[in-house]
């Protein structure tokens, strides 16, 4: 839920963490200093991208027009895949330790439970289905990690005011408290949010659907016995005709989302004298403190292309979704991880620039999928005509009695990673594979044991670059250039419940090529160096 407040601007939020502006030597340079990568925007997407690139050895400059992290939970739901990415980036543990872990969602019609779901019924994963964590915590942990990495130069209160595309680089003009300066970027990455000034500077159309509805979001501090579950009400008795959502967050903070309808008055609705009674009706008591209130409307839309020569868009600057399903920040972090390894290989000259076309293709497909899901959820949650409302209510009525209708109840289809089905980077399967591992999808995690007998997780054991995962057979294979070789049965052992064997349909000799972003690029029933070499070349864009 990265959509910013429509009424109250972000600037009105109270400051929680303050960072300092520091003068850069670039500001004293006579000619603009050239940098390989400049990221605009130090939000979850920009910082994740910076850390990923820096872990791969790149020097990164991030600029942000602000110098603080503001209050308000905003994007609170972080999905399993995002947590896996952040774990690889060295921030998984503080996120998990601070966040509220949950996996069960309950949907109510009026005061009656109609449907409940479990997002991760299967065990044997390091990361849970979801955590709830205020965005300011997530940003704080990312900012701390960023500050600890010598490869990252984070410049607060550096606002991009102009860009000039010059073939193989972009000249960027920045405004600071000490005046303007310029720098050159081989690659300029726009992670500057839904209102992306860079998108405006390039005059890129952002087309899609604006939904005519208003939602009130509030963080409330209270001690309560509600379980750590996602509770969603259609037409609740405390808020007739609308919808409501309740989430538990750390520090006894509860997040409440209330649908208000399009006619609602932006300023009136945010006044405590109007907000408090609504929440009192919802909670049934007045024993709470209001921490933060905001209003939002939202859009479902994206730009046509994410790569514009040397300017690349990621996260909300490229696509926006409705908040139902937690697909905003989660998909943005996945953009970052898709881009990081590709940009790294291109900068190193180990892959051609064509590899970046696959970023556009794969993440555009992901954006389309997220937009489709969140649009459908919005249609279900906020019916637009009386008959749509009747159909929706009919589904809810039938859900109590029939299984098919329960599956139709849509209070948000929660973020799952997109499977890159039509990517040129994948080598099509020659033989069928069962199990939950899918070509083009992030590989499933599994509990494993190292050769020395220590417990670990499969995702944790994967290399930073390409990994070849080979199931031990009669012969020990030789390593293939450009990939780390891990032999299951020698370097890593499956657990007693054979999670790995089941999830990967692993037979002796089976060999899997895993991309640096942990997506499955190819799999074979036996190990063949030439075939694997070709699959790696293909995954680096050779076949595109």
């Amino acid at each position: 839920m990265t959509v910013d407040t429509a009424g109250a601007g972000a600037g009105e939020r109270k400051t929680l963490y303050q960072f300092g502006y520091r003068r850069s030597t670039d500001q004293d340079a006579v000619t603009p200093v050239r940098h390989p990568v400049v990221i605009v925007g130090a939000g979850p997407v920009g910082m994740s991208l910076a850390i990923d690139l820096a872990q791969r050895g790149q020097k990164v400059v991030i600029v942000d027009d602000a110098d603080r992290i503001g209050e308000g939970s905003r994007a609170i739901c972080f999905a399993k895949r995002t947590l896996e990415i952040w774990d690889r980036l060295g921030v998984g543990t503080p996120m998990l330790d601070t966040g509220v872990t949950w996996r069960v969602g309950k949907n109510f019609l009026r005061d009656k439970l109609v449907y409940q779901f479990d997002l991760l019924p299967d065990d044997g994963h390091k990361m849970p289905a979801f955590i709830n964590l205020q965005q300011y915590y997530a940003e704080r942990f990312l900012a701390e990690r960023t500050a600890a990495m010598p490869g990252i130069d984070l410049r607060w209160r550096n606002k991009v005011t102009a860009i000039d595309r010059r073939g193989d680089h972009v000249r960027v003009t920045l405004e600071t408290p000490e005046g303007a300066y310029r720098l050159d970027a081989d690659w300029l990455i726009a992670c500057d949010g839904a209102k992306s000034p860079l998108r405006g500077m390039l005059d890129i159309a952002f087309e899609g659907q604006v939904f005519e509805d208003r939602f009130l979001i509030a963080d409330v501090r209270m001690t309560a016995d509600f379980p750590a579950e996602r509770w969603f009400w259609f037409d609740p008795p405390f808020h007739a005709g609308q919808s409501a959502l309740l989430h538990k967050q750390p520090d006894n903070i509860w997040r409440i989302d209330l649908q208000l309808g399009w006619e609602a008055d932006q300023l009136e609705e945010q006044k405590p004298e109007n907000v408090v009674p609504r929440i009192e009706r919802m909670l049934g008591h007045s024993d709470f403190e209001l921490e933060w209130v905001s209003l939002y409307t939202f859009q479902c839309r994206r730009i046509a292309g994410f790569v514009h020569d040397r300017v690349i868009f990621a996260g909300d600057s490229a696509h926006q979704v409705s908040p139902f399903g937690a697909r905003g920040a989660n998909s943005g972090v996945q953009d970052a991880e898709n881009l990081a390894w590709k940009l790294d290989l291109v900068i190193r000259g180990e892959a051609g620039e064509g590899l970046l076309d696959s970023y556009d293709l794969e993440r555009s497909a992901a954006a389309d999928e997220n937009i489709a899901h969140s649009t459908r959820s919005t249609d279900f949650i906020a019916p637009k005509t009386p008959m749509e409302r009747r159909l929706r209510n009919a589904v809810l009525d039938l859900a109590a009695r029939t299984e098919f209708a329960r599956d139709m109840v849509n209070s948000g289809r929660l973020s799952t990673p997109t499977v890159y089905r039509n990517t040129p980077l994948s080598t099509p399967d020659e033989t069928p594979f069962a199990g939950s591992a899918r070509l083009g999808a992030p590989v499933p995690d599994c509990p494993m044991t190292t050769a020395s007998g220590e417990a670990t997780w499969l995702l944790q054991a994967l290399g930073q670059g390409f990994t070849i995962l080979h199931v031990a057979a009669d012969e020990t294979p030789q390593a293939v250039p450009g990939a780390t070789l891990i032999v299951v049965g020698r370097d890593l052992m499956d657990d007693v419940e054979r999670h790995f064997a089941r999830r990967y349909d692993a037979t002796p000799g089976a060999t899997y090529l895993i991309r640096p972003d942990q997506h499955l690029a190819a799999r074979f029933r036996s190990f063949d160096r030439d075939t694997l070499g070709a699959a790696i070349a293909r995954a680096c864009g050779a076949g595109a």
Binding site: P386, M387, N393, T402
Partner: protein, 64 residues
């Protein structure tokens, strides 16, 4: 692709029509509309085939 069946499948067409009429008797407009919504969902799930449903929707929307 399966085709929507538009020839009669009913041994006693009048009885089926009557069953529908009976279901709506004594209901006001709103209740009738709600009943229809539930009925459509139940029948659509029973049919299950999206191609058949698309043809039925197209035929039902076309009125002249």
């Amino acid at each position: 692709m399966a085709d929507l069946i538009t020839t009669s499948q009913l041994a006693v067409p009048d009885a089926l029509y009557n069953a529908l009429v009976d279901a709506h008797r004594d209901l006001d407009d709103e209740q009738s509309a709600e009943l229809n919504a539930r009925l459509v969902l139940l029948l659509a799930n029973h049919i299950g085939d999206p191609d058949v449903l698309a043809q039925a929707i197209a035929l039902a929307r076309h009125t002249d």
